[in-house]
Subunit: 115 residues, 3 copies
Amino acid sequence: MVKRSGAYGGILHEVVEHNGVLYLAGVVAEDPKMDVAAQMRDITRQIDEVLAANGSSKDHLLTALIFITDMKQKPAMNEVWKAWLAPKHLPTRATIGVADLDGYMLEVVVTAAKP
Amino acid sequence: MVKRSGAYGGILHEVVEHNGVLYLAGVVAEDPKMDVAAQMRDITRQIDEVLAANGSSKDHLLTALIFITDMKQKPAMNEVWKAWLAPKHLPTRATIGVADLDGYMLEVVVTAAKP
Amino acid sequence: MVKRSGAYGGILHEVVEHNGVLYLAGVVAEDPKMDVAAQMRDITRQIDEVLAANGSSKDHLLTALIFITDMKQKPAMNEVWKAWLAPKHLPTRATIGVADLDGYMLEVVVTAAKP
């Protein structure tokens, strides 16, 4: 069974659930003019909301792909990340420096278990 | 059980099936000189073929990662995407602007459920 | 059930296991000054170790995302890849040319089945 929620723009669903895994679409901040820490805080807030709406939470994250347009901002992004997640519940992660995120500094793609 | 099909170049399988999920290799167009819409149409045609050959279809897509070398081409790519997929069956998605796809403008990595 | 191992820097776990799938964090070489072949050999050695420590092996790889900062180095990277993996057990794969891997030439993100 596949369950989809959060249809957006005729392009994607924010969440697709299958076999106990929640797959989330890439999340960007609400405002691309925010600094990188504010963008990450806004992204983590959105992920919390989406996971809560789908019966999970940040303690059940499995994986994260973080795309960033300026690798020098990684330490500032990491501070927000570390403040957000409990050490025992950290997912796997890769941080990839990319050319263009349509004006944003960060885009985060996560998966989570549905407990 | 893991089922692999579509061996390519001693480098990858086009599809790996495990626990009801089909993981597809990155798909590029047959000809890198096509414009972005034609590349996307060719990619979606290939995905349709691979999914059909493995007992699934585009209505069962779970996730998509779209890598694009020129973010200004995203709207043209999106038109093909929207014409391809039914709104109720859209997967999650992230579109990432990257430096180099070995000559191509697009590469698409999807997963799908096997119903 | 989610099982996490290899906590690193308060930022990630090296492996998260869920529903028979091992998700690995992005792996880079120990020394960014190595040439691309040496970086890939070091990455594959680390993946072998992590999979062995978690009850799996390279014969059970499902997917690979390879991020590379210089696509011209792809053939040299591929030679190491092909020497590493048995043709019958190749995963799916996508190789994406990206702007910045924090000084490294390669970063590899894989998943594997736990047999």
